[in-house]
Amino acid sequence: MTNNANVAAGQQKLRSKKGHERRVNGTIYTVLTVMSIVWLVPFVFLVLQSFRSYKLEKGGMVDYLLPKHFSLDNYAFLFEGSNFFSWLGKALIVALVAAAVAAVLIHLCAKLLDRGEDSHGRRIALIGGSLLAGFVALVAMTMAMQGFTLAGSWKNLAISLLLYALAGWIMARVYLKQDSKLLRTIPGYVLEDKHQGIKKFCAMFAEFGALALIIQCILAPMTMSQYVRWYGNTLTIALFTAVIQTAIVLSVSYSLSRLRFKGRKLIMNVVLILGLFPGFLTMITLYFLLKQLGLTQAGAVPGLILIYCASSGMGYYISKGFFDTIPKSLDESARIDGATRFQVFLKIIMPLAKPIVIYTILMAFMAPWGDYVFASYVAFGHQDGYNVAVGLYNWVNTNDFQNYFTRFCAGGVLVAVPITALFLALQKYYVEGVTGGAVKG
């Protein structure tokens, strides 16, 4: 009897514990759901309002959320007066055809190789030759798309030839180097291993796409609307900043973490002290320095790149913390094998530091999209030198903002979508960098 009662009590207890657990989880789910709604609502609103028809409704702030007429008016306004889409379309078509031709040529060339005897020089000659042939054909095509006027076209032809040749050479080298088994796998380049073929084709398409864009920028720059220009400015700044800043940050953090030299502590202390001064204190001096170099107003884009990169060495903390965790014995064994410090840096540390490299690139790339202060000060009212942040901020905060509110929403969406996608794709590295940085201080 008592035994039974005990069992019953135990079961009761277990059940109540389970019930308690369920209640707790239920509360947590409720809280998280409410939070998610709060977190997402502004962005949903933003997107909704960006689709409000400009012609049929007001472009300013209204007292209802759902647009009565959905339209792309606001987006169309951003591209008004710009041939952006046809421009991009041309480049993409060129890239697509180029990638296809190159793939076919490589395939043929591989077939050819399969029969002949195996010599390294022959392979390179065949692959390089076929790629080059493809490029020449493509140059002609690009020219044709530009309308092929003879005036000045020789210069254009030379430029595009040079670029294509360079790219062909690089690609041939990369493909040859990537894996030594490459030539054995080439016969099935597109056909045999389907997945691999598609993947490689995508890579080629991306390369040719970049190339086609560069060539078009040189040969037939697009006509830009204000917004497209701002976007282009920001993109240019972000790309250059990402590359240069990463190089600087990595070299500073590597030398402070791995190398021991006189003045190392001094440098770290000076940077610590400098970091306590507010960044905008120096604004007028920087403006003057840039003005001396002709890099304000019309030259705002290179000027901003210079400002973002020049002092970026001071932000070495997080990557130094990462380098500190790589065991020193790796360096030492390589040094014993006769590697110089430069080789250790390039061949041993860099491959291991991939997460922090990506983190640094991501941060450096994202920062210029949000900078208002320096961007507006350096551009100093010269509209062509704005970045998106300055341009859109001015749309919202100047007198005419009732006309520009939904346009601001549309412009914001176009900025936010690619940046957010990039960030979410590389989120893993961001978390790694942030957590490491917080723990090490």
Partner: protein
């Protein structure tokens, strides 16, 4: 430390005892800091004295190559066949001499007055005079250049002395080729750091020095060179910023400073605890879709702030969505003055900052929570601890210990958090003397002083004040809280 009396105390007594001990040790620690500072300054001067003495002995014992280097830099190295080094030194000296003669001396000599002759218009002709701005900037640059020259000159002599010793001992000197090769090896740090250091010098150190000096001049809208020169005024600007009175900014400064500190406190600690709380919720066993919750929250980090914050600031405006809907539903009859009432504005800013800040802390806390050894919780559970106790005894101490330095940097960052304030309220509502608003931080006030008021002198003083505040906070935290430094204490 293990005192019987201490062990006998109850908890509150222990706390009071520790607190008392902490404050008792304050003077000693601060004094210790000053002694350390004094020692390092003394060491600095001692080093200079030694270097000067060194110069004399080197000259006395040196051969003609070394002695010639005192006059013509690099000549010793050239004579010894190290033409790479010699050429660098020689070139440096040539450039320095040319710079000083053609450019530097003129500015350096006017640094004391910052120029006396303003640019004027005489009739239709413009007569160019001095320009205080240029004199100050190039004067500072020249000063740095002179210091660099003295240092290089000293290095040049030191190298000669070493080379002489090496020759005397019969070993071979490094050739230029070896010098260059060492740049990729034993001197690799020079290669890596040359460009970043130059960048930091030109774009950070030089401007900061310049602005520090501007704080001691009367450079403002009434003194814009070249037509109106500015000059040294001593501590006049500091007096103006710190003392009360109708012409001074003392009251505004105190209010802005107070709000800056309040803001930084809330922005740091509110986000910290809420973010940790969210992380614990998401990480709890049995909660599904962990990745989805995280991704949703992280959206506010991913989307550029100027988009999200500008939009949210419009949402809270008098004619924004929130107010209009609340009025439609007849919950309120008047729009809530989110941005026009000082109290509301401050509250709204802190509230919206939670939206921006929690995800960041959530990510950090997630990483750290996963590192807490699971057996700690296991043994606590066996001992019968409930969730709150486990949080108070294990999670919180661990988090606080590990993220101590982060809290400090975060507090510093929030004091200088320009974006949130500027994009949300631009410091409004206005109404403080000196063109400051009720939600202005020191840094946004500084920005307005620079950009719209062109009151550079006060901007410079505000900048220095921010530095002082941050330096004091950092020093205090680093010196007085041992747990930040001592990693062994926790285990």
């Amino acid at each position: 430390m293990v005192d019987l009396n201490y062990l006998k105390m109850s908890k509150p007594q222990k706390f009071i005892h520790n607190l008392g001990k902490f404050f008792m040790s304050l003077p000693g620690r601060i004094g210790g800091g000053f002694v350390k500072l004094g020692r390092s300054i003394g060491g600095f001067f001692k080093g200079i004295a030694l270097a000067i003495a060194d110069l004399f002995t080197t000259f006395k014992n040196g051969d003609w190559k070394t002695r010639l280097s005192y006059l013509v830099m690099g000549s010793g190295s050239l004579a010894r066949g190290q033409w790479g080094r010699g050429l660098m030194f020689f070139l440096f000296q040539t450039v320095f001499n040319l710079y000083m003669v053609n450019f530097g001396m003129a500015y350096l000599s006017k640094l004391g007055t910052l120029g006396t002759v303003a640019t004027e218009k005489v009739g239709r002709k413009t007569v160019y005079g001095d320009n205080s701005f240029l004199i100050l900037l190039y004067g500072v640059l020249t000063l740095f250049f002179v210091l660099a020259f003295i240092y290089t000159w000293y290095m040049n002599i030191k190298q000669n002395r070493i080379a002489q010793q090496i020759e005397a001992s019969g070993r071979k000197l490094k050739s230029t080729k070896e010098d260059l090769q060492s740049l990729a090896d034993s001197q690799f740090h020079k290669t890596l750091l040359a460009l970043p250091t130059l960048g930091v010098f030109v774009f950070t150190i030089l401007p900061i020095f310049f602005m520090i000096l501007v704080a001691f001049t009367n450079f403002d809208y009434n003194h814009q060179p070249p037509s109106k020169l500015f000059t040294w005024v001593g501590f006049e600007n500091f007096k103006q910023l710190l003392s009360s009175g109708s012409a001074n900014y003392g009251d505004t400064f105190r209010q802005v400073l107070f709000w800056t500190l309040v803001w930084a406190f809330f922005a740091t600690f509110l986000n910290y605890f809420l973010g940790m709380f969210v992380a614990i919720m998401i990480n709890k066993k049995g909660i599904k879709l962990k990745k989805v919750w995280r991704t949703i929250l992280v959206m506010t980090i991913a989307i550029p702030q100027f988009v999200s914050l500008l939009y949210v600031s419009k949402m809270f405006a008098a004619d924004g969505l929130i107010n209009t809907y609340l009025m439609k539903w007849h919950w309120i009859s008047q729009p809530i003055p989110f941005w026009t009432n000082p109290g509301w504005a401050r509250f709204t800013i802190i509230l919206i900052n939670i939206w921006i800040g929690i995800p960041y802390l959530m990510l950090i806390a997630t990483g750290i929570l996963m590192n807490i050894p699971a057996d700690l919780y296991e043994s606590a559970r066996i001992d019968g601890a409930n969730a709150m106790q486990m949080y108070g005894k294990i999670t919180l101490p661990y988090m606080l210990f590990v993220t101590g330095p982060y809290l400090l940097t975060s507090f510093t960052g929030n004091i200088n958090n320009f974006n949130v304030i500027f994009l949300l309220s631009q410091g409004k509502p206005m109404g403080l003397a000196g063109n400051a608003g009720h939600t202005d931080l020191l840094i946004t006030w500084l920005y307005r002083m620079t950009v719209s008021d062109t009151n550079y002198k006060i901007a410079a003083v505000i900048g220095i004040m921010v530095f002082v505040v941050l330096a004091v906070i950092n020093l205090v935290v680093y010196n007085l809280i041992p747990s930040v430094k001592n990693e062994e204490d926790f285990q």
